[in-house]
């Protein structure tokens, strides 16, 4: 056992390693998958949250715009009801327009009351006011400082192709020396004639756009406006980044095919989520988009945290798995080890058996070879002996007793030869050297010949032979089939009683040719029956009966070699029956007959 212990142990270790590796692979895959899912879910959630936030901001923006619009609409209604405004517009007295609208416009441009600064509903606080005439052109005020100073190109951007029937939202990029670049939201509201209901003019006011994300940290959100290929993003100080973003946003937005969308951008190397929404669809003013950039650094930090959490969980899982593996391997490998040990024992036993078998086989071959050699070696001296005896008997000066004695000796040499031949045959069979060359044998013909030979035997036994043979063809080698029949018939005669009877039947039974040989005489006692086919067994018959105990054995071995068999059918009441069966010749089909 100590010799096989080392390989068993290494095998066991290997098994445990494999188990551990498999578990590691599974846990790594699970960890990876969980990580991927968590990352995706996080990103998705974050995007949805930001999107909600953006939509919320936009909604707030619209709310403020609605307030502005309502305020402006009220002003417009008041203006439209003023006969002096009508007069100025309809009676070609545009110079009187602004002075007569001064009160209303001052209301619009009123500086917000400090006490109302914190109120949630921001009042309209216009940065400038302008009228559009009936063709949509800007009416320049006689005294621009009162109505918000605009540069010429800024003012010209307020003009519309036609006088709008309803309010229009636009955005105006303004540049001033002191505050730099700003964007004003522009609301154009028509002034409808109080008598015809048609627009007779429009009022355009500029307001500071609502800053999105006012309540958030400035670094996490940046909002701005994209207008005519220009990005106004005051919270992003870096002009290079702004230019880069402007290019990116313009590339996405310029086709104007989607009113709102989001995409990812990198600002200062940090990924950001950029939302945009068309602020003034269907407006006569150029399209403007609200741009909101949300930093994803929060998301990245959270993802980082989750990554460590999951990795930690994976490590714990792996450690746990290691423990479990250790335990499980111990439990699992118990039977496995046992199995290995058992299988080792089995193998050893098998090896031993194989060795024994080989040894036996070799011995058998050697003994068979020895038998064959011996048989051959014996034949020659016997033949010499017989020839000598024959010569001796032919001598003239022999007494009749002496002659008789010599004749007996000669007969004994024949018997020896017969034994030798049988032994030779058996040893050939034992060595597996005997090959049958089957051909079609006419069994009834062969039987007749054997019966003739039988009756010619000079033993003086008065035995009656009956035969009832159908003509059958069997597959076999004629010489050996003859030998089988001869053995059986000789036995039937040998063990008969004087005045007895031998009955031979031959018939077809299915694919078999069945020959039964029955004879009168002493029966074979029950205990001897299982031994009668053994070599050199002669039953309980006395030594008075000639024979050497090889006949039945030879007959059975030969019959089995032919695919048939010899057995004892019955032995009782002065009647012993043996049966031998051979395979019938397969009736060849005409097609295969030629080949044979």
């Amino acid at each position: 056992m100590s010799a096989s212990e080392a390989p068993t142990r290494s095998r066991f270790l290997r098994f445990r390693l494999k188990l551990l590796a498999a578990m590691m692979v599974v846990i790594s895959a699970m960890t990876g998958f969980a990580f991927y899912l968590a990352q995706r879910q996080l990103a998705l959630n974050a995007e949805q949250e930001l999107e909600r936030e953006f939509q919320g901001e936009i909604a707030a923006l619209h709310q403020v715009q609605d307030v502005h619009r309502a305020a402006l609409a009220t002003s417009c209604r008041v203006l439209a009801e003023k006969p002096r405004i009508h007069a100025a517009l309809e009676d070609n007295a545009l110079d009187l327009l602004y002075p007569n609208a001064k009160d209303e416009l001052r209301d619009l441009m009123r500086q917000k009351d400090q006490r109302l600064e914190e109120s949630e509903t921001p009042a309209l606080q216009a940065t400038f006011c302008r009228f559009l005439d009936s063709r949509g052109a800007v009416i320049t005020p006689p005294n621009p400082t009162d109505f918000g100073t605009l540069r010429l190109e800024e003012e010209s951007q307020l003009a519309l192709k036609t006088l709008p029937g309803e309010e229009q939202i636009g955005y105006l990029l303004r540049r001033s020396a002191d505050s730099g670049e700003t964007v004003d939201e522009v609301i154009a509201m028509p002034i409808l004639s109080s008598e015809t209901g048609e627009p007779i003019a429009a009022i355009v006011v500029g307001v500071k756009p609502v800053e999105l994300g006012r309540h958030r940290l400035p670094s996490s959100i940046k909002s701005g406006i994209w207008l005519s290929d220009h990005l106004y993003l005051p919270s992003l100080a870096d002009s290079a980044q702004t230019t880069m973003l402007e290019r990116e946003v313009t590339r996405v937005i310029a086709p104007l095919d989607r009113p709102e969308k989001s995409f990812r951008v990198k600002v200062n190397g940090v990924p950001h989520l950029l939302f945009y929404k068309w602020l003034n669809p269907d407006s006569l003013f150029p399209p403007a988009y609200e741009i909101c950039i949300y930093s994803l650094s929060d998301l990245l930090t959270r993802q980082e945290q989750v990554r460590w959490q999951i990795l930690g969980a994976g490590a714990v899982l792996l450690f746990g798995a290691f423990a479990v593996t250790h335990f499980a391997a111990g439990r699992l490998s118990g039977p496995v080890t046992q199995l290995v040990e058992e299988s080792a024992e089995d193998r050893a036993e098998r090896d031993r058996a194989e060795a024994a078998l080989e040894k036996t086989s070799k011995e058998l071959q050697r003994s068979a070879r020895f038998s064959a050699n011996t048989s051959h070696q014996l034949k020659t001296p016997v033949a010499v002996l017989r020839a000598g005896l024959e010569e001796l008997r032919a001598h003239e000066n022999l007494t009749p007793e002496g002659r008789e004695e010599i004749a007996t000796l000669i007969h004994q040499t024949y018997r020896i030869t017969s034994i030798i031949e049988d032994l030779l045959l058996l040893s050939q069979m034992d060595a597996g050297c005997l090959r049958i060359n089957p051909s079609s044998v006419d069994l009834s013909h062969l039987l007749e010949a054997q019966i003739d030979d039988l009756s010619a035997l000079p033993d003086g036994m008065d035995v009656e032979v009956e035969s009832d043979c159908a003509r059958v063809q069997i597959a076999g080698e004629k010489h050996y089939v003859g030998l089988i029949l001869q053995n059986l018939l000789e036995n039937a005669r040998k063990y008969n009683r004087p005045g007895g009877r031998i009955q031979i039947r031959c018939q077809e039974n299915g694919e078999w040719a069945v020959i039964t040989v029955g004879n009168t005489g002493r029966i074979i006692p029950e205990p001897a029956r299982e031994h009668i086919f053994e070599r050199f067994h002669r039953g309980s018959v006395g030594e008075d009966i000639k024979g050497h105990g090889l006949g039945l054995n030879l007959a059975r071995e030969l019959a089995r070699l032919h695919g048939g068999d010899v057995r004892l059918l019955s032995s009782e009441n002065d009647w012993t029956v043996f049966e031998v069966r051979f395979r019938l010749v397969q009736q060849p089909s005409p097609a295969t007959a030629k080949v044979q």
């Binding site: 009508h86 007069a87 070609n92 109080s194």
Partner: protein
């Protein structure tokens, strides 16, 4: 009532010519078709559609332009009443230099003003007991839109003409100009701030010309 007043005013405007001119033009101006159904109590109003000022239902002012002997006397004064929160008449033709008074017959304030290029003025708020009655001299030919700063619906037109010979048509467009001097003139019919029909006419003393415009 108002029709009769219009007629009266027309007679007043034409009266001074009786002494030395005898020609008469009478006829009809084809007034623009209006979709509004005729009302029983005639109530004219000034309507501005796409910048075109006209009276609705339509009325025409027919006048004769040409060179007339200059008169030394000022044209007689006219009145534009404010009555029942309306101007009466809605359309008043006057000769250049006419002084128009604006008596307030209502029991409330009115503030008559005009931003029209032909005459800009603002009478300020006044009541019916205001004395003297606020008045304005119209010294430039052209169309003057009158409004009240307090009552935005109140509108009226004063058509200032460089001729003493004019008349306002009735609602079917019929008109009559009498006491015209003989001579070669242009007959014009004002329909709106955009449309004025015209035709040359030859007048001989004592004749009556029948004209249909256009």
């Amino acid at each position: 009532m108002r029709g009769r007043l219009l007629l009266l005013l027309a007679v007043i405007g034409v009266a001074p010519t009786f002494s030395f001119a005898q020609a008469v033009i009478e006829g009809q101006v084809e007034l623009p078709k209006t979709s509004s159904v005729p009302v029983v109590v005639k109530r004219y109003e000034v309507v501005t559609t796409r910048g075109i000022i006209a009276v609705k239902p339509p009325l025409a002012v027919v006048y004769v332009e040409g060179s007339f002997p200059k008169r030394t006397s000022e044209p007689p004064g006219k009145q534009m009443l404010q009555k029942d929160l309306n101007f009466v008449p809605t359309l008043l033709p006057v000769q250049v230099g006419t002084k128009v008074a604006f008596p307030n017959l209502d029991d409330t304030y009115h503030n008559i003003f005009s931003f029209s290029p032909a005459k800009r003025f603002d009478l300020g708020r006044y009541r019916s007991d205001e004395t003297p009655i606020p008045s304005v001299v119209f010294d430039v030919p052209g169309l003057v839109t009158l409004r009240c700063d307090i009552h935005e619906h109140m509108r009226a037109l004063i058509l200032v003409l460089a001729t003493p010979y004019f008349a306002t048509s009735d609602s079917e467009g019929h008109f009559r100009l009498s006491g015209l001097p003989a001579g070669h003139y242009t007959l014009k019919a004002w329909l709106s701030s955009k449309t004025t029909l015209e035709r040359p006419v030859d007048l001989s003393s004592g004749s009556t010309l029948h004209v249909t415009l256009p």
